[in-house]
């Protein structure tokens, strides 16, 4: 199994760290409603660069819906701005062009395309039409570095459809990197990974988080304890608590609805 290569990530992230340096995600009064059922209500959230933010909360709390709203997948009211750009109300592909990238709770890569082609496409949204009509020459350097970063160099010509679950998740992270997303919204990125793989992914996320704005949704408390800079807890569509790992863990409301009292070896 190939491993994640943090050094390669440095090269990748170093390519353009200035453009969005002072950007942050600012969510104000966000609300999502499905046929009268309010999945997200009055959510305020601010995430800055260098603050690896974890978003937790019971199943059905509205975490995925929040990400959906920010990326234009569901209709929402209120405001969510990144880099001074209002995202709510924009078409999904325009939100992506504003520097917002996400992964999905169930991995979704282009199964018929190779790992390399997946990354190349992710790298290309800002290409001019004429470039699109040309054949890819040499592998673009960003793609090369992304392959190394997520440890898939050896599998570059493998169709993504045959990757194992975890490999697909890494590929997705790689795609976000080459896509040059500066706000990364990751929905349960380490689900299904072994302990060792989680640690590697965590290191990678920490590295990315220092240069980009990153929000991670996870239920794995061990992972959270190791890597979160700050935590937001959602419950029934609202923000229940926010703070450091320590603060949140000791918040009785959070223990009550989410953590439970018997915290063993389990997440």
């Amino acid at each position: 199994m190939n491993d994640i290569d943090i050094a390669a990530a440095d090269a990748l992230l170093g390519t353009d760290a200035t453009r969005f340096r002072h950007d942050y995600l600012e969510v104000r009064g966000l609300r999502v409603e499905f046929d009268g059922f309010v999945a997200v209500r009055d959510v305020d959230l601010t995430v800055t660069q260098g603050d690896l933010r974890f978003l937790i909360g019971p199943n059905g709390a509205g975490k995925t819906t929040l990400i959906d709203a920010v990326t234009g997948l569901v209709r929402a009211t209120g405001s969510a701005a990144f880099g001074g750009t209002e995202l709510i109300g924009r078409a999904t592909h325009r939100i992506a062009r504003a520097g917002v990238g996400r992964t999905f709770q169930t991995a979704s890569v282009f199964e018929e395309l190779t790992v390399l082609q997946n990354l190349d496409i992710a790298a290309g949204a800002r290409r001019r039409p004429l470039t699109l009509l040309r054949r890819r020459g040499a592998t673009p350097p960003v793609v090369e570095r992304a392959l190394e970063t997520v440890g898939l160099t050896a599998l570059r010509d493998t169709p993504a459809g045959v990757l194992a679950h975890g490999q697909k998740q890494w590929l997705e992270i790689g795609m976000l990197l080459v896509q040059d997303a500066h706000l990364l919204l990751l929905d349960e990125p380490v689900a299904g990974m072994t302990q060792a793989e989680r640690e590697e992914t965590g290191e990678l996320l920490r590295r990315i988080g220092s240069q980009r704005v990153v929000v991670v949704v996870e239920h794995d408390m061990e992972f959270l304890r190791s890597f979160a800079d700050s935590v937001t807890v959602m419950h029934q569509g609202r923000v229940l608590a926010e703070g450091t790992v320590h603060e949140v863990q000791n918040d009785p409301a959070v223990v009550e609805v989410y953590l439970g009292t018997t915290e063993g070896d389990l997440p």
């Binding site: 995925t64 959906d68 997948l73 999905f104 709770q105 169930t106 979704s108």
Partner: protein, 293 residues
Amino acid sequence: MDIVAQLFAGLSLGSVLLLAALGLSLTFGQMGVINMAHGEFMMAGAYTAFLIQAVVGDAGVSLLLALPLGFVVGGLLGLLLEATLIRRMYRRPLDTLLVTWGVALVLQQVARDVFGAPNVDVRAPAWLSGAVEIGGLAWPRTRLFILALATACVVALALAMRATPLGRRIRAVVQNRDLAEASGISSRSTDRITFFLGSGLAGIAGVALTLLGSIGPTLGTNYIVDAFLVVVAGGIGQIKGTVIAATALGLMQAFLEYSTTASVAKVLVFVAIVAFLQLRPQGLVSVRTRSLA
């Protein structure tokens, strides 16, 4: 314009479309199979009625026999198609369109070789010929009969899908075959039953059509495009939507035809459907999904 007469003409056309589309709402709507041979199953139902009449003689008895037997014949053809070809193709829905189109071609030619190219006629029973006079208007009996038949089929199918274990099983298998298998449901037999039912409905539709026109090898091709449009406009997999769409299309065709011509009406109906799908791309009644989830 005689509004009442046209309303009835529209409803009646709608009921014919509905009969043709109802089976598709199962095989296409539920199972995702684009069965272009559905029209040929209708044709088979119609020829069944013809054969039964040739044997039985009495038009009334033979019609009543033809309805269940047409169902069985259509159903068996569907079963055969499912067992030989379709079952290999559930993961390639668009390809089913092509395969079944090939099957349709062959079935048409079989009919031509067996029954001859000329159309044949099935006599309507005396109690269905002519019209009943109500309120100074003549209501053709055959049309009333088809309306009632379509209604009965819809009610039966809706009940079966909503309220029976079979209905649940059918819907479960369609959504996730592996998961259904892993939940102890035989997807093979469920597929077969579903296809049997959907194709059987085509057989019934074919029997009904013998009351309206002649039957020939190309009977089905006249209905297949319209029937698919009904299912699409209604919202795939939605019986309610199919009923509304068939009725709306029938009425629209009838009224447009009255004020323009049959050809123009047909083109306008197509244009209206394209425009409608602009407003509701998932059809009239749609099930929401969380995409990618």
